[in-house]
Point group: D2
Chain length 409, copies 4
């Protein structure tokens, strides 16, 4: 019923070998303007400042998520059997498009727009004439169905579990992909094994008991990637610099002193929700160019922060104790630097895995040999220990290293 | 004598494991503004349009070349013994900086600037206050020495052979790196083995006879990377689009009709050699932003070509027979499209290895068990066959696929 | 119609990820006594004397060949379409069993038995009660059909092409597997790509023109594996030692002086064709134990050669010039060693690929874009050069290094 | 002072790239008869019954341990600085020889000999004329020094910590090697990173705080390898079969009914400590041949158990509850099978890491940024959770599956 491509299209991918496309609708979505824009958004925010090869994009990640979803709905017998063709297409499209509303610099930008990227994602799916058109021409109502997967409002609860839960195509792709492109080994886990142990029970994706080791491995991979890559202080330092620069620009805008050179930022700085057109051009290429222009801004704070971003003269950091914060504030004053822009405090905390939450999609479930289904922390002593052990956190204060006489990070 | 870093600095790299830095001068060069700019220049021109993960940069490639040079001058006993400390630093710096003058979109941009990137590289090394300063503070005359390696004018002929010859750090890094980031296996060869079989004889780097297989493998890797990646028609299609867009812009400039929005391109379009300052800002981020602005240009050719670049609606291609060119020209006329911008002809040809040339640096030499030294095509039947076999070429004509009713590439 | 296993059985394999078994007949064959015996036969003859990790077995190789066949008959649409279910099972079983008649020490043993392993393979398939029983219970006549694939006498000529031709499951598995277990990179090629470009035309497996690069790569991989692994002089030295030991034992047998300790070798040394029962026990474990016993044999030649095999004191080697052979013969006489056992001459020669032969199965065919089918040396300049270039050979004389005062190899 | 090889000898190894040998004494030890014997002892006991490619040997593992030790004593500045040349050679030799006394089938054989392999290891090092000779000719007293490392009695406590502690060359090699040859990913961890974070403080090897993640990863790798490979029930089933077969043989020996065919086993079955000569021939090849002979033994239990080992008809298994054991015993009686040989009970338990013990070598120590040294469970919340969480155990009863009507494992 749904139109296939003439022959299976394949895109070479180092993580998955190949991305396979056999539905026409998927091929058209890939070739759409908004999807191609993801080539201009890096997958990771500041991590490429730590891992110099981490320049991979949301474009390749989105293809990877699609590919894992495709394999789940065709190669996992229980899932293949639980969905009809329309649902399979819906969830493959949702996997492909789940990040289409992502802005530059990963989650740093959400702090600035004060709007989660999922909001833009759904707007684009349901309102962009091209994307919406491709979906609706394929099947009436498909654009809403796809957006419903993103919003976790699907009538079939398995669909959002496939794309975004605790053991889902999104996470599985990004761990493997980020490990590959940073060159760390921490994110590696056994995807083939996990796909083999997935089952469906009572409208819920579960893992066979014999797959518990593979899941423990995955949980540890995730945990280590958080601390070694996503929460690396240098990555956070970079992201804090971006936030500081925008804070300064917004303050200048309020004072009517915004530099002329940044038309792309204007709607953002005025604090209004961006139209899709305005949002479209806000990719990392535009931002980088804007920073280059701002380098020569009259305002010394703007010029300094923009140069730091481009030339990688990042803020240094310390543990965020009251004492340290006091000391830094003092030194900044002496150096004539405004702590509003030159001091950032940022705490992150993460457990390897957080099971307790309202909906089934937010835990990993295990089907025991005997048949009953347990939340994984009851099926795995390792996970139990991790869930009930102390939480790990990392609170830091960021500031220009020069004020202490030390080199920048 | 030369200052070392406090402890060995390491940068994680998926190709080499780690990049090791132990000289202060190298660390400072890495942190310089011009070197950091290489983060904004992709390693490959249009190949990321074929291989969606090929977003790696000249920054990581340059670090990789440096690392191979470092290993050659420390781990290969013959080379370590043939160079003094200053020469080692010279050649490590040259490896690091060899691409510092590279513009956006790889060699496509050299067609537009009509200036090989090596010219800018030497200018930056010898004239940029920061880079030159770092080098001269390390040792008087070092900036000229480093530039001399790039220019193949070193007093010690081994230095340029290390960085850029037929079996050199530059080629060895890019083959491995491009293979890794495209996900192809063609570029893989046995770097460890090659490093182990290098020797120095009569001021020339040679390979032990037992290393011939490893070199054959390397030559084949190079050959396959050319045809599968560097010369892939879709990559060339993208690069031709860029050349067409600039051709149109230059023509508009001559007519005084240049769109307002592209100040960064102005010096380029006026056909004058760019100052280092002007050249500095011309990274791929600036270009991409400029294309985004040009999308809405009044001139329909500019708008169309810019959109095609951003949305990946590339030119289709055929064999460049007279017949095909005639047919395409005809169809373009019917469609009202100017062949000056909508038809590109582009021929590439490559032998796996080309030995004959003036200087020793342009061949691979083998020391036979008996002691005599042969050019590799006389030491390897395989290479002999390749060198004396027919040359492979690929001539194509590129054009908008729509005129033939086919989809774009 | 053909019985499936309860669920897909999977065996983890580093080369293929997993081996997948879904037909009951395949599962039963794997669990048969003769197939399990392959665990006691190494894949490579003497190469583990060069590459200390090359202890992989015919058991894992046979599973790998089966897996590639399985993928060819299910994932390559043209092949899947050209065969019925019985033919698919026939060729999968043939892939699995193609080496079941292999004796110890790879091809060295065939020199001793004077009987190619294919003869035993067909005997086992058609006569062993267990194997024959499993096949005939699955479908009448299946054991003959399977053996016919081995004998290249199938009614459908595609079947033997899948298992054993120039681009077949056997070669593809062993190149990848031997590369993995020796730790060399030479044998790697892009299996996924090759599977994607296979087609069937006129009852013949062909390769799409766009797959020529992948095939060139495969041909080079094969060529390099021959010279770096299979024909490595140290591997040949080991194999020649085995042949020498058996020559001595046979001579002793003729003289009625065979040591008591080797009942397993008796039928072999008497020069008669072994029964399947006698052949069954002749695995590498039995041979190694017999060598251990022979270490203490009264006959000094036997004792010395057996000790050399076990303690890896292999023969040294030189180019097999008349002069060298003369010199070695002279030195052996002086040392009181009989050249009949202490001098081995052994020449190997190989082209990367040999196209010309009687049947279609012995060449690689390419379907050009235009539709016509060419033998690959006419479709690839590289292959043309290799086929028409000089042949590479390596003739050596092997002897105990001590006689020259040099250390053993 | 200590003699070097002419040039660095290298052995290709898939885990480490190359094994590098530059001391003459190491090269001679590798070429000794006892060391070459390790080619005939697999690294893993029964795991090759689960992972069909796990045929790697103690020979390659021993080379790998040596290589890691070599890197530790040359590339880790603190360790290189803490040892003199003789100590470095001592510990490299100890790494190489640490398993030289290993018998067949890993630890299963120790159950039979009732003698830990370390006892034989020290005997061989101190008493075998060849090994002892090589060591003593290198330096007087060296054989005792090497054996002292194995016995954890070195005067310098760092030496045994390098070879065998909680984060040592032995464990690091076997995790990586077993992961590679089984094809599982669980055993992978970041060896390069760990080598980079090692330090020496107060005569103790410690890890820099920034290396804690790498160590957590290593601990998890170890944990998963235990449960997925070393303690896999099928591997244990195979090992239990060996123990049962020997139990039966010993009982027959007591009754004076030992089959004639197994002279190699005799000293073992008579329960006396084996001489080195007797022990030498007891490799896996001899055992396998002996099993083949025993297949036809008059005693039906011996014949059956031997056939099961060779043909992989292993015992099935269940949880070792009292109820299950009762049921199995009952069924065995009905089937006329003696539980003494046909029922095995086997419990394993493991924590990912066990810190508390008498000596420093049995914990992993972390040097915190501030300078103080903590046992890792106090430096890592993850490890703390694991150490203080519930212990994981697995108790099984093994028996012939036929008695329950189920297939064998």
């Amino acid at each position: 019923m749904f139109r296939k491509t003439d022959e299976v299209k394949v895109l070479r991918d180092p993580v998955h070998g190949y991305i396979h496309v056999d539905y026409d609708v998927i091929w058209k979505l890939i070739n759409s303007k908004w999807f191609q824009r993801l080539r201009r958004i890096r997958q990771l925010g500041g991590a490429h400042m730590v891992y110099h090869t981490a320049d991979h994009t949301r474009f390749s990640h989105s293809l990877g998520v699609y590919e894992i979803v495709r394999r789940m709905v065709t190669e996992v017998p229980d899932i293949a059997g639980a969905l009809d063709e329309r649902e399979k297409i819906t969830v493959m499209a949702a996997g492909l498009l789940h990040d289409i509303g992502h802005g530059p610099y990963s989650h740093a930008f959400e702090v600035i727009t004060k709007c989660p990227h999922e909001t833009y994602t759904c707007m684009i799916i349901e309102q962009d004439p091209e994307i919406r058109g491709i979906l609706e021409q394929t099947a009436e109502g498909l654009s809403k169905d796809v957006a419903d997967v993103i919003r976790h409002e699907s009538s079939n609860p398995i669909l959002p579990q496939i794309v975004s839960a605790q053991l889902d195509a999104d996470r599985m792709d990004y761990l493997l992909r980020d490990a590959y492109f940073t060159g760390t080994k921490y994110g590696e886990f056994d995807l083939e094994r996990i796909l083999r142990v997935l089952r469906v029970r009572d409208g819920r994706i579960v893992v066979k008991e014999s797959g518990v080791y593979a899941v423990e491995n995955y949980i540890m991979a995730r945990y280590h990637m958080y601390w070694q890559v996503y929460y690396h202080p240098i990555a956070r330092s970079y992201e804090n610099l971006i936030v500081s620069l925008f804070a300064r620009l917004r303050d200048l805008e309020h004072e009517g002193k915004l530099p002329e050179t940044v038309p792309v930022f204007e709607p953002l700085l005025k604090g209004r929700q961006l139209t899709l057109e305005e949002y479209f051009v806000l990719d990392e290429y535009a931002c980088s160019y804007a920073f280059e222009m701002l380098r020569k801004a009259e305002d010394p704070v703007v010029g300094d922060l923009a140069s730091r971003l481009l030339d990688r003269r990042l803020f240094d950091y310390m543990e965020a104790s009251e004492e340290n914060i006091g000391k830094v504030t003092e030194l900044l004053k002496k150096a004539g630097l405004d702590p509003a822009y030159y001091l950032a405090r940022d705490g992150v905390r993460q457990k390897p895995y957080e099971p307790y939450s309202k909906d089934a999609g937010n835990a990993i479930w295990v089907r025991m040999h005997g048949g009953n289904i347990l939340e994984i922390s009851y099926a795995s002593n390792i996970v139990y220990s991790l869930v009930n052990g102390p939480q790990i956190s990392d609170d830091r204060v960021f500031f220009p290293g020069e004020i202490t006489g030390r080199q920048s990070a």
